[in-house]
């Protein structure tokens, strides 16, 4: 029992700290919630440290198979904490700027992180479900939290209803799988499928519901509808959050369900994912072209990226999964930078969420224009930026597994996609600025954002480490 506790230490500590911070928050009068903010950040760092320190050599299963700690979970958790740390840093800027700062934001954020971590290391369907709910509920609340704005509450409502619907589907799927295999624990399920003679198409029936649940979280077409509205409606700080760390969690969940749980059905879910992938890339890239609101545009680009993410899973090999992992991580880094940039450009009671707000950025601030350029070209998948390698990785594995034509389709969509990223670069560099108002943001914000952007470039020049990490994570 105590061994189990050791394994799950990061989660436990995070939980404890979250409760602590809740109390701190309750008693703090500071309108800027500085204390809450810093304690939160420290909590994250502590968790991060714990994760780093307790990175397992081989998979450890705890709590009667409810919990697993392996390479993938460890790395994803680490990135979740790290990314959330930066996200909170950006968010704090934003909230201060917009005078909508609330202590609960951070507390809920922490609980969301907890949920993600649980998902990352969930090894039974039940833990997956609970982790998912913990995450989602916190997110619903965070979206709705900025009570001044109509769109926020609308977004929250849509998110909530659709989320509930999706988790309902997921549950139905779980119930079917449970009913067919008689197990909730992933390993048992795999074993049951391989050994017992279970009607395959019924398993697929159940699996489809599971996939829908996962696809919804990731925002894959046709289960993507919530994404644009939520991204646009939610306060940028929350959008920033939603579009980064939870994606890792959703990826982890997909991996757990499809790879750890239902790998015997690989041929079936490959073809299902193929449909979703093509749809997502198509819908995402094509609709994004027509957008004028950058948050919404990035939402659609997310959908497109998810399509690409699936390609790695479709490959159905260790390397392919590593490719997807690499993809989702680099995507999280990129979109963190992109939304960070929106926050950076925003000012008091002004959200820089229209594309035109980027006009002439190169004159206003060459440096950040350059950072944004890196991010955009990276998202478009142009070398030497990180985004290229993520696309390259999944495509390579896809081709290696023999899906050449699918790869061709994918690259065609990536060209369509390139257009709207270029459009932002065009706005920044080729157009005249409408206002030359200088960018007012705190020093650490500027610094972190710069690092974020340069990271995209540096990792693009030397992607080996991250690639190796992902490979070992899945393989180990």
């Amino acid at each position: 029992m105590s061994a189990d506790l050791i394994v799950a230490l990061p989660e436990i500590i995070l939980f404890a700290l979250a409760c602590l911070i809740l109390i701190v928050e309750a008693y703090s009068k500071d309108p800027l919630h500085t204390l809450t903010y810093w304690t939160t950040q420290i909590a994250l760092l502590i968790t991060l440290a714990l994760i780093m320190s307790s990175c397992p050599k081989e998979a450890v299963i705890a709590f009667n198979g409810g919990f697993i700690s392996d390479g993938m979970s460890a790395i994803l958790k680490a990135f979740m904490c790290g990314i959330t740390f930066i996200v909170f840093l950006y968010s704090y800027e934003y909230l201060k700027e917009h005078k909508t700062i609330k202590g609960e934001y951070f507390v809920l954020g922490l609980f969301a992180v907890l949920g993600m971590m649980i998902m990352a290391s969930a090894y039974s369907l039940l833990s997956i479900y609970l982790g998912l709910e913990l995450l989602s509920l916190s997110l619903y609340a965070m979206v709705a939290m900025q009570r001044e704005s109509e769109s926020a509450s609308e977004a929250a409502m849509k998110y909530f209803i659709l989320g509930a619907l999706a988790s309902g589907m997921l549950l139905y799927g779980i119930s079917m799988i449970y009913g067919l295999t008689g197990h909730l624990q992933l390993a048992d399920i795999t074993e049951a499928i391989t050994n017992d003679s279970i009607n395959r198409s019924y398993l697929v029936f159940g699996m489809i519901f599971l996939i829908i649940g996962a696809a919804f979280k990731l925002g894959a077409a046709p289960f993507h509808m919530w994404v644009p509205d939520v991204y646009q409606g939610a306060p940028t700080s929350v959008t920033l959050f939603i579009s980064t760390a939870p994606k890792l969690a959703a990826f982890a969940m997909t991996m757990r369900l499809l790879v750890d749980g239902l790998f015997p059905l690989v041929s079936d879910w490959q073809s299902i994912l193929m449909v979703l992938a093509v749809l997502s890339m198509g819908v995402g890239n094509i609709i994004a072209i027509a957008q004028t609101n950058i948050k919404r545009m990035l939402a659609y680009s997310t959908i497109a990226h998810v399509g690409f993410l699936f390609l790695g899973l479709i490959a159905g090999t260790i390397a392919g999964f590593s490719g997807s992992m690499f993809y989702i991580i680099s995507y999280a880094l990129m979109s963190m930078g992109a939304f960070g940039m929106i926050i950076l450009l925003g000012r008091n009671n002004f959200e820089a969420e229209l594309l035109n707000d980027f006009k002439g950025l190169a004159e206003r601030s060459p440096w950040f224009a350059f950072i944004m350029l890196c991010l955009m070209f990276s998202m478009a998948g142009v070398p030497p930026f990180l985004g290229f390698w993520s696309k390259w990785f999944v495509l390579k594995e896809l081709v290696t597994s023999g899906f050449v034509s699918l790869a061709a389709v994918a690259v065609v969509f990536s060209i369509i996609g390139a257009y709207y990223y270029l459009r932002i670069v065009k706005l920044m560099y080729f157009d005249k600025a409408e206002s030359m108002t200088a960018i007012k943001a705190s020093k650490q914000m500027r610094m972190v954002l710069s690092v974020n952007g340069l990271l995209i470039l540096v990792l693009g020049l030397a992607p080996n480490a991250l690639m190796a990490l992902c490979l070992s994570a899945i393989a180990g």
Binding site: G115, L126, S127, L130, L134, M145
Partner: protein
């Protein structure tokens, strides 16, 4: 035999009330039908030897959740909302899709596969079998971890509900002494210079 009859009665009731929930225009009626469907399903659960959960369902849902619903309904005095009729012309289409879905699912779940001897319920449990104890043991040993998570979820729910629910906005008239202390003259009082008036003739 009797079981079957009972089952079908409640099943019918359940389906009926459920569809009423969907059809009802007045949310209060809908809520009440929902309660009815909860009752019906709890009955069925008892047939399925899940007494504890059946009770819980009634207690938790009917007792708490539905009350919450009704409370909200009242609070928002919905009447102004339901002036227009609930459904629109899309209904037949929607129903068609629903039917399609029923068949799509029914074909699978209704198949004889689930009659196979894997799915034979033990008829008679021994008298001193306690469903609650079974669950209790499972939850507090095997599912400790998940139990904790559930706790976290509830906590989050509380936090969220509170933050969202309580409105600092208009009601709150409290003042901030800090601000009052730090106020300076020029914040409140502005002295402007202006030329004394001249007549056009002189200009």
């Amino acid at each position: 035999m009797i079981e079957q009859i009972v089952f079908y009665i409640f099943a019918g009731l359940l389906v009926f009330s459920a569809s009423m929930v969907v059809v009802m225009r007045n949310p209060i009626h809908a809520a009440l039908f929902l309660i009815l469907s909860f009752f019906a399903s709890s009955a069925i659960w008892i047939l399925l030897q899940a007494e504890f959960l059946a009770i819980t369902l009634v207690l938790v849902y009917v007792g708490a959740v539905m009350v919450l619903f009704l409370f909200v309904v009242m609070m928002l005095d919905i009447n102004q909302v339901i002036v227009k009729e609930g459904f629109t012309k899309h209904v037949p289409f929607g129903v068609g899709v629903a039917a399609l879905m029923v068949t799509a699912m029914g074909l699978v779940v209704g198949s004889d596969y689930f009659l196979s001897d894997r799915y034979i319920a033990t008829e008679q449990l021994d008298p001193n079998y306690s469903n609650a104890r079974e669950l209790g043991i499972a939850i507090y040993t095997e599912y400790l971890y998940q139990f904790e998570i559930a706790g976290a979820i509830l906590l989050v729910a509380i936090i969220a509900a509170i933050t969202l629910g309580m409105s600092k906005l208009k009601i709150n008239k409290s003042i901030n002494p800090n601000k009052q202390v730090y106020v300076k003259k020029q914040d409140r009082l502005r002295i402007i210079k202006m030329q004394s008036e001249k007549k056009e003739s002189e200009a």
